[in-house]
């Protein structure tokens, strides 16, 4: 059966061109970059070249890019690092209520450590009002962390505005750009970003490598103490092939951004239209325009998301849901609840995230499959039965 992967927000397939670039660094140039002999220096050189590439993609200096093992590490490092370094200055930190768990759970952890956290709610369209953040700023606020683009509903946040509010108030601003990097042009200078997290596997790079942008002059505690790697700020023998892969994948993403985004948006919009035409009782989640071009998020009333995902899988379609069952938690996704959706509706969400490898040819099959599965599950659903009877 044909496999149609529609979960690019979860992870993407490693680009063959990126893999090709990585291979020599998995095989031949294995020298420890901290070593002073030739094969060590070759690794070092390759890493610094990769750093140059990443820096040029975000309009910053290479000395402001630090390689990490993933988006989660970057987020944890940024938040814990700012908190630890500034604990004598203040203990108040601000975030939004639709952050990824890597930010949200780190905030909750900091709360347990005695920091005060303010979680600013987004509007009904999944976008935060920068003024609401500004209002929460206090004398002892040391950090604002707001994601660039949301992983579930794709909404893009007004980062430059939030950045300038933070800068004006002399507060460090971190953005989790894990979903944005490679899809949206990012200029850290213009956007007043102090710290920014990215993760390679979200833009066709390898898993297990990420980066944190740390603006020059921003001081944060280390998360990894140890050797002198990454200019003494992030210890550990470097994941050379991973770093090469991250840089190459980012470069390719930026080079082909317009083309890919157009391609993806066309397919996304066609699937969205198809679903809206064929399936009643649905709710489209998140702002329809201020969102990532690859993201659709619907709630289908009267059904539950895990069952939906599994049945789509039978049809060769890989997708995701914010239902409690798929998130492994007790509640449906906090992002959907943040939009004001009731639990029972949030349980029935479907996220489709398209990618470069998505094809216009599959649109009808995707729409038909979803319509069939939704219908089948509704036929099984006592909620739907009740609803239909009530409608008369």
């Amino acid at each position: 059966m044909k496999q149609i992967y529609l979960d690019h927000a979860a992870t993407t397939q490693l680009d063959e061109a990126v893999l090709k670039k990585m291979m020599p660094y998995m095989r031949d140039y294995y020298g420890n970059p901290s070593s002073i002999y030739t094969i060590g220096r070759e690794s070092k050189r390759a890493i610094e070249e990769a750093r140059d590439i990443v820096a040029s993609c975000f309009n910053c200096k290479n000395s402001e890019i630090y390689f990490t093992s993933c988006g989660t590490e970057s987020d944890n490092w940024a938040i814990k690092g700012v908190c630890a370094f500034n604990k004598n200055k203040g203990k108040h930190i601000i975030t939004s209520n639709i952050e990824h768990h890597a930010v949200l759970d780190t905030f909750l952890y900091m709360k347990k450590q005695g920091y005060e956290i303010t979680v600013v709610p987004v509007e009904k369209n999944g976008i935060i009002d920068p003024l609401k953040i500004e209002k929460e700023i206090r004398k002892d606020t040391i950090l604002i962390s707001v994601m660039f683009a949301n992983n579930e509903i794709g909404t893009i946040q007004p980062i430059a505005e939030i950045g300038s509010i933070a800068r004006k108030n002399n507060i460090i601003f971190h953005t989790d750009a894990v979903q944005a990097a490679g899809t949206i042009p990012i200029d850290v200078k213009e956007m007043n970003i102090d710290l920014m997290s990215i993760s390679a596997h979200k833009f066709y790079g390898p898993k297990g490598v990420g980066a944190l942008y740390i603006r020059r002059g921003i001081m944060i505690d280390n998360l990894f103490h140890g050797g002198g790697q990454e200019r003494t700020r992030r210890a550990a023998t470097e994941n050379i092939s991973g770093i090469i892969g991250l840089a190459e994948a980012l470069k390719l993403s930026l080079e082909n951004m317009d083309y890919n985004n157009n391609h993806i948006k066309k397919i996304r919009d066609a699937v969205k239209r198809g679903i809206e035409q064929k399936i009643p009782y649905i709710i489209y989640n998140g702002d329809p325009s201020q969102r990532l071009v690859n993201n659709i998020n619907f709630c289908f009333r009267f059904i539950e998301g895990e069952a939906l995902i599994l049945m789509l899988d039978f049809k060769g379609i890989s997708a995701s849901s914010g239902s409690a069952c798929t998130s492994g938690s007790l509640d449906p996704s906090h992002v959907l609840l943040a939009l004001g959706l009731p639990h029972e509706i949030a349980h029935g969400s479907l996220r489709l995230t398209f990618g470069r490898d998505s094809s216009m040819e599959d649109v009808d099959y995707i729409v038909d499959s979803i319509a069939q599965v939704v219908d089948r599950l509704r036929q099984m659903s006592p909620l739907y039965e009740t609803f239909v009877k009530e409608q008369g």
Partner: protein, 142 residues
Amino acid sequence: MYSNKVMDHFSNPRNVGELADANAVGEVGNAKCGDIMKIYMKIEDNVIKNVSFKTFGCGAAIATSSMATELVKGKSIEDALSLTNKAVMEALDGLPPVKVHCSVLAEEAIKAAINNYKKSIGEQVTEDEYTCNSCCHNKKCE
């Protein structure tokens, strides 16, 4: 994640739908938690002649409903009342720990339907509190 048996009962659920001539209906669960099971029964001479279900819920919820209906079909009321969630799980070759509550829900749905029947014929029943009691989410339910 799920056993083959679970996947079989999920992808090809037995006894699904409303039962036109049902004389017993039981519903347990809570939409907020993401699980509702509704069982329809046609009971004659103390025997469950026919049974069907409708379920709002995850793969395990649907599979346990399907299996539970299979297990009580043709059984006497007494036998059906002695159905345990463990028996449902075993018949499905197990469930992931986070899904055990689905089997509890299935057990309770069967009981709820039978109690509904008993009440309809004037028998006394000791009613349990079903709604979400067994659900792993219960801390979250009001």
